[in-house]
């Protein structure tokens, strides 16, 4: 599958030449291109792709494949407006593993990375402000993980201290 992409999409063959260790897998499914990138190389790969026309970062999110290992897939959706092409990058990371932030490539990555940290608990190195974004600051869990219950625990008012 990767071979077919290398031959048909010039930007991917350029990427393979520039970052030979980074490109792990690639596939085209339902017309959408997915590349699996080595987690340690994500920032240079993004920087290169931005220079090559992927000026817009559409979103960053993650998928939890618990109990598989590595359990998380961090998914980047890139968009080249001029050539009207979309590209999906994926990094597979274990629990506790962190990724290099891409905020230096696109400033817009800031909130998306904060959201992934907030909801999945995946850290981004060199992020300017990696705080929780949607949940309260004193929250301890990461609710979009598959082992986080949907219905939560029982809340008992008697346990609360009333000052």
């Amino acid at each position: 599958m990767l071979q077919e992409l290398l031959e048909s999409v010039p930007v991917i063959s350029e990427l393979a030449a520039r970052e030979p260790q980074a490109l792990l897998e690639g596939k085209r499914d339902r017309g959408e291109i997915t590349l699996v990138i080595a987690p340690s190389r994500i920032a240079p790969v993004c920087r290169f792709l931005k220079e090559r026309g992927f000026v817009r970062l559409s979103s960053i999110t993650a998928v939890d494949w618990y109990p598989a290992e590595p359990r998380f897939e961090v998914v980047y959706h890139l968009h080249d407006i001029e050539h009207n092409q979309r590209l999906r990058l994926k990094c597979r990371v274990h629990e506790g593993e962190s990724l290099e932030s891409v905020t230096s490539v696109w400033r817009g990555a800031n909130w998306y990375e904060r959201e992934v940290w907030d909801l999945f608990g995946i850290r981004f190195e060199n992020h300017p402000n990696l705080r929780r974004i949607l949940l309260p600051e004193d929250w301890t869990d990461h609710p979009l993980r598959k082992d986080f219950p949907v219905h939560g625990g029982r809340y008992d008012y008697a346990d609360q201290e009333h000052p």
């Binding site: 959408e32 559409s58 999110t61 998928v63 979309r86 974004i133 600051e137 949907v150």
Partner: protein, 403 residues
């Protein structure tokens, strides 16, 4: 919660020797929901602005993972209360792409017509509240008068004014109602003159011009870098519209223009959205004239609920109905990122299937979340009175931001 804006209370400016940290929101009329802005002021100038979001976070994405595929449709309504049909459409298109399901022409055209009415509905609320924020009260009343007509049309189609859930996987929820053609026709005939009314009130109004021209400027490069989409990008000169660039649901069969401006200020955004309303009117008129006939759902037993009449006479129909309602349907493994042009910009659903009857992951790339990141760039260095104008020009919905 920590106070990010209050981090350095001793910080003093050289000009006046004093800075003020002001909390705007989470309960403030101009934020249209619960957005908290921490503003650092030097006199009346905003030095730093930091949006705090999450007050409306309801965990919709987590909920989606626990529901059957067809049950998720009703959750997508509740993301953006001004554009429920755009969200319905985006989700249905994503699942249909995963299934490889083709919907019939009537459903495709009906979807186009109703999402354009949704765009009008959303832009009308935006215009009314934006003008109200800046001080033009009457525009609000006029806009809501027209919006009421659109909501009546939605009610006619789906029985609901706001949480419509009218688009389902494989087509429409029910057949278009009797008399829909005349209702839409009446509305669309009157609407252009109503738009002229709004323009008369605002476009050359000196107060409006002074409050909006040159306010909230951000360059196109910065907007792209910050991940802004939709009318804000078009007001900065980029003619990019997903309806044209990646046509879905037969949008390529409709004629319309992409309005652009280059000033990238609050006034340019106003002009772009007003022109978009005229273009939407054009699309709806074409949909009315060329509406195809035929079934409103795809012929996909096991995915689309069977006809009520058939359930009374055919055994298979009854079995399919029972199976869909109780255990849903299985979707082949894979992942799809489907983007549509919502009234606010790029709305995309990333649906991941593991082959089961519930989505493994539904991610909503909502336009308001992406756009709101540009707020500091828009208001920093400006006056505090202009924050309200800049906020209004972004046209965000907090439900859409926080999900």
């Amino acid at each position: 919660m920590s106070e990010p804006g209050a981090a350095q209370p001793e910080a003093v400016s050289e000009a006046t020797g004093r800075r003020l940290v002001l909390n705007m929101g989470p309960q403030h009329p101009s934020t249209h929901g619960v957005l908290r802005l921490v503003l650092e002021l030097d006199g009346e100038t905003v030095v730093r602005a930091e949006p705090e979001i999450g007050f409306l976070h309801t965990g919709i994405e987590k909920q989606c993972e626990t529901r059957l595929y067809h049950q998720v449709v009703t959750l997508t309504d509740r993301v953006d209360y001004l554009a429920p049909l755009s969200n319905n459409l985006c989700y249905c298109l994503a699942v249909e792409k995963l299934l490889g399901l083709e919907v019939p022409p009537l459903a495709r055209w009906m979807r186009v017509m109703l999402t354009e009415l949704t765009r009008l509905n959303s832009h009308l609320v935006w215009l009314g509240t934006h003008a109200l924020d800046i001080g033009a009260m009457s525009v609000f009343l006029y806009c809501f008068r027209e919006r009421e007509d659109i909501l009546r049309i939605f009610e006619m189609f789906s029985g609901q004014r706001m949480m419509t859930s009218y688009f389902r996987i494989g087509g429409l929820a029910v057949e278009p109602p009797r008399g829909w053609h005349r209702a839409v026709q009446n509305f669309i005939q009157a609407f252009p003159s109503r738009l002229d009314e709004y323009e008369e009130l605002l476009t050359r109004n000196p107060i409006w011009l002074r409050r909006t021209k040159g306010i909230g400027y951000v360059s196109l490069e910065d907007l792209l870098d910050l991940g802004v989409t939709g009318p804000m990008l078009r007001a900065a000169g980029l003619a990019w519209d997903i309806r044209k660039a990646e046509p879905y649901s037969d949008y390529d069969k409709f004629e319309f223009d992409i309005p652009t401006r280059t000033e990238s200020d609050v006034y340019a955004r106003y002009q772009v959205r007003l022109e978009e309303m005229r273009q939407s009117t054009r699309i709806i008129r074409q949909a009315l004239e060329g509406m195809p006939s035929g079934p409103h759902v795809a012929d996909a037993p096991g995915i689309v609920l069977p006809d009520r009449e058939k359930m009374k006479t055919e055994m298979e129909a009854l079995i399919y109905h029972f199976k869909i309602v109780t255990e849903g349907f299985r979707v082949p493994p894979g992942e799809v990122y489907q983007a549509v042009e919502s009234p606010r910009g790029e709305l995309a659903y990333y649906v991941v299937s593991d082959g089961g009857n519930r989505p493994w992951r539904v991610y909503m790339r909502t336009p308001s979340f992406g756009n709101l990141q540009a707020l500091p760039a828009m208001v920093e260095g400006g006056l505090i009175a202009d924050v309200v104008a800049a906020l209004g020009s972004m046209d965000f919905v907090l439900g859409d931001v926080d999900r």
